[in-house]
Amino acid sequence: MIRTPLRPLARILPARDKGENPDAIERENIRKRHVEMEGKARNRAEGRLLVLGVFFFGAFTVVGARMGHLATTEPAEPVATINGAAIAAQRADIVDRHGRILATNFETHSLYAQPPQMVDAEAAAKGLAAIFPDLEEAELLKDFTGKRKFIWVKRRISPEQKQAVHDIGDPGLLFGPREMRLYPNGPVAAHVLGGAGFGKEGVRSAEVIGVAGVEKKFDDYLRDPANGNKPLELSLDLSIQAASERVLLGGMKLMNAKGATSILLDVHTGEVISMVSLPDFDPNDRPRPPTEGDDPSVSPLFNRAVQGVYELGSTFKIFAAAQAVDLGLVNRDTIIDTAGPMKIGGHRIGEFQNKNYGKLSVSDIIVKSSNRGTGRLALQIGTKRQKAFLGSLGMYDPTPVEIVEASGGQPLVPERWTDLSSVTISYGHGISTTAMHLAAGYAAIANGGNYVSPTILKKSGPQYGPRVMSRQAADAARHMLRKVVKTGTASFGEVPGYAVGGKTGTADKPKPRGGYYDDKVIATFASIFPSHDPKYVLIVTLDEPSVMAYREERRTAGWTAVPVAAEMIGRVAPLLGLRPDVEPGQVAGITLVNN
């Protein structure tokens, strides 16, 4: 390799001496170097340009080859495929305690139109209007001939309707598979199940989401594919639920009530065996929610059992009696003076129909439902202890039942708990709770003194919570309840063989602007059966019942709620597997004589 000597000034110095401009020499040098560099750069670029040329040649060859490959393959029958993210639509079933289906999924189709692909918009509109009576031909035609490129015609159609639409034969009418939620039992257990609707909606599938009830509460569980389609097991018993609904509906009509609710609770496990709220609805076709301003409790969507917060009246008396026994203040036979007048904080405490019972045993206070009697017990117990006791029965918080609506059943409790509050609350006024709260309270008495938290899910065994009263107190209360049915206000509640015990409650309905109605009541019967070994609590509540009996308009629970409850127990107790406790007695009114 020949190197030029590193003598940059070799030519410049003599040039300066001669008076020439050395810049010219510098420029000449730079020009030479440029020529050299250009040559080198060209050599390098030559290779790279060749690479590029080969790349383009190759790429175009590939495109051409691919084109040739495509052109020589037969066009395949177009098959619609899922593009992009599919919406997971599989939703777990809901079953009752015996595995009978309460909610399941059903394959159906939605119908949509793509007007640009339509052959004969007029015929399509006409055909659709003939198949679906609720569609207007003129409006369809307007949609089909307008600017829109995509129109939902029907969200859900039946297989027969699908075939009919198919027969129209227009390529612009298309079907998207849909998975819809089906409630095969119609309105049975409607309030528990709630309902489901479509969430995100695509052409090829739509998301099914729960909108109410357990469907909404357990939405995540039901939608989670990780659960492997394991159904959600509820504590409900479908046949008992259905029977309860029939009886309650009949009772509601007979008693001219505008609403009714019943709850059947297992006292050991807290499982809700049936829960009815009337009027009801069909979850397959959920009505629209009530508009703003209307009374929500009028809507059939309103779940009276867990949302309806009312003063439940004398049914609360048993709590005062049970606590008094529990604290050792009294026993069943302790005599309490219930004579009037009784004035607390400037208010007179009166009895039903201004009766005056005089001296009564604790049992008889419950049996005759004496306000002053329980008031005196409450005064003995004292505000603080009464408050704590009702708290331990869960009377201050919404019930823990796993239905979204349950969280709306916030009880109303006095802000300042005075002696007067104590007395009124002892007979169920001044505190408003739901029927479910009452059921939980009675369950604690019935199971021997343990709080159980009501649940809608199937449990495998007793679920005792903390003890809230002694067994003795619970037994005493149980006896009193039995006596109420045997000889007291709930005598219509006797069901032969099932030893029903219970307490009636008739509370005047409050007016929206304060004060109480004279002629509107909430009639409640809270019962336990069989009372020697209680297994179930049944609460029946009628809203504004009124019945003519013995030439008198009667509204009290003993005339309204109790007979309905008795009928219900008579129907459901055999279904529950309870053996009627029939006393061996005279089989018939005649004696067989052997002549």
């Binding site: 670029a45 590029l52 040329g53």
Partner: protein, 387 residues
């Protein structure tokens, strides 16, 4: 005598423009371009009547417009190809500045024609897409800068051109127009490659492009849907891709016959992005292969001619223009055969479109100007043993 009285007829330096042009021109490439344009008109006759009827024009409204714009484009091409590289560079730099400003003002003055991207200026009788004019201008400016950076004491032109490139790509992404952005980026990359980019850097940049694509995929719904549609092995027959694939298959080797095609009725972009599908359906594989051959010969011939070019500016600018031209055609056809994800890109000279035609004419004119035969100092090479 005459000479004594009137003076000698001044001698022109060099030979007259037209003969010189004709002698040095890459006549093959120009012929290819003209044939492409003719094919474009032919396909326009087939592909555009549905659009015309949808927009309420006479059936061949768009063909007429195509012919007018095409005439203008060819004129522009011829004029540009007659210029000297220096003149081309000067005009292109001016044009670039103009187009750059126009594009910067798009968000304020442009329209989107209801297509979701602000890319156009509406001039009433026609719409102009400044990015189409920006591309060739950018190539020339970047080539100039890069060439300058190769001079001793030259400016850091490569860095400048990269900054400019990033700026333009950013503006295009904002529109959003990922296709043009990729094209600009690609053009710059190719020029940098030919200008002597270090290999390590090239690999690094390839990595960056992948990264950028990933980010665009995860952040832009528009972009992600197209990629998903591409990666999905089954083609949905109701998408543009599905129609295009079906059309190519229907066409087979010799096509279903002139005017018998169906795809033009269902594809909204039959006259622009998917014109090759129309060609394949009506005229068959034969025409498609001819089109591919034409593009290949233009690009490869230009690149080969540039191999012997000594002037770095001419070489770089020529490379950029040829590659952009080729890649645009390649992407357009690659999309139609599902080699590439769906991307709206026109087929140069064949697709309908005023701006793209005229800009394409100018770009090819520049390319022809750069690939003209000129003395490369071969004798000096031989004598001096350089090379």
């Amino acid at each position: 005598m005459t000479e004594m009285v009137y003076g000698a007829v001044p001698k022109r330096a060099g030979e007259p423009i037209l003969p010189k042009w004709w002698r040095t021109l890459d006549k093959w490439s120009m012929t290819c371009v003209l044939i492409l344009f003719a094919i474009g008109l032919l396909l326009g006759l087939a592909a555009s009547p549905p659009l015309a009827s949808r927009n309420g024009f006479a059936p061949f409204h768009y063909v007429e417009r195509q012919a007018i714009f095409g005439g203008a484009a060819i004129l522009a091409m011829l004029l540009t190809s007659m210029m000297s590289p220096t003149l081309v560079r000067r005009l292109a730099v001016l044009g670039f500045i103009f187009a750059f400003i126009a594009m910067a003002l798009l968000p304020f003055l442009g329209t989107d024609f209801g297509k979701g991207a602000v890319r156009w200026y509406s001039l009433g009788f026609a719409s102009v897409q400044p990015s189409e004019f920006l591309k060739p201008g950018f190539v020339v400016v970047a080539a100039w800068m890069m060439a300058a950076s190769q001079q001793i004491h030259g400016p850091p032109g490569t860095t400048w051109s990269f900054i400019l490139c990033t700026l333009i790509v950013g503006m295009l992404v904002m529109q959003p127009d990922f296709g043009q952005a990729c094209l600009v980026l690609f053009g710059w990359g190719v020029m940098y490659f030919v200008a002597g980019a270090p290999m390590v850097l090239l690999l690094g940049m390839a990595g960056l492009v992948v990264l950028g694509g990933t980010i665009a995929y995860s952040s832009s719904e528009h972009f992600a849907r197209r990629i998903d549609g591409f990666l999905n092995p089954d083609v949905d027959p109701t998408t543009q891709m599905g129609y295009a694939t079906n059309a190519i298959q229907e066409g087979g080797l010799f096509g279903v016959g002139v005017g018998e095609g169906q795809v033009k009725w269902s594809l909204p972009d039959a006259h622009t992005d998917f014109i090759i599908a129309v060609a394949a359906e009506e005229y068959g594989l034969i025409l498609v292969l001819i089109v591919i051959l034409l593009y290949t010969s233009i690009v490869v011939r230009s690149l080969l001619r540039l191999m012997r070019e000594r002037d770095p500016f001419i070489r770089l600018a020529g490379t950029g223009l040829a590659c952009m031209f080729g890649v645009q055609a390649m992407i357009n056809m690659g999309v139609a055969v599902r080699l590439l994800p769906a991307k709206g890109m026109t087929l140069p000279f064949v697709s309908y479109g005023g701006s793209s035609l005229i800009a394409g004419g100018i770009a090819v004119g520049m390319l022809l100007a750069f690939t003209r035969t000129r003395p490369q100092g071969e004798i000096a090479d031989l004598l001096g043993g350089r090379g």
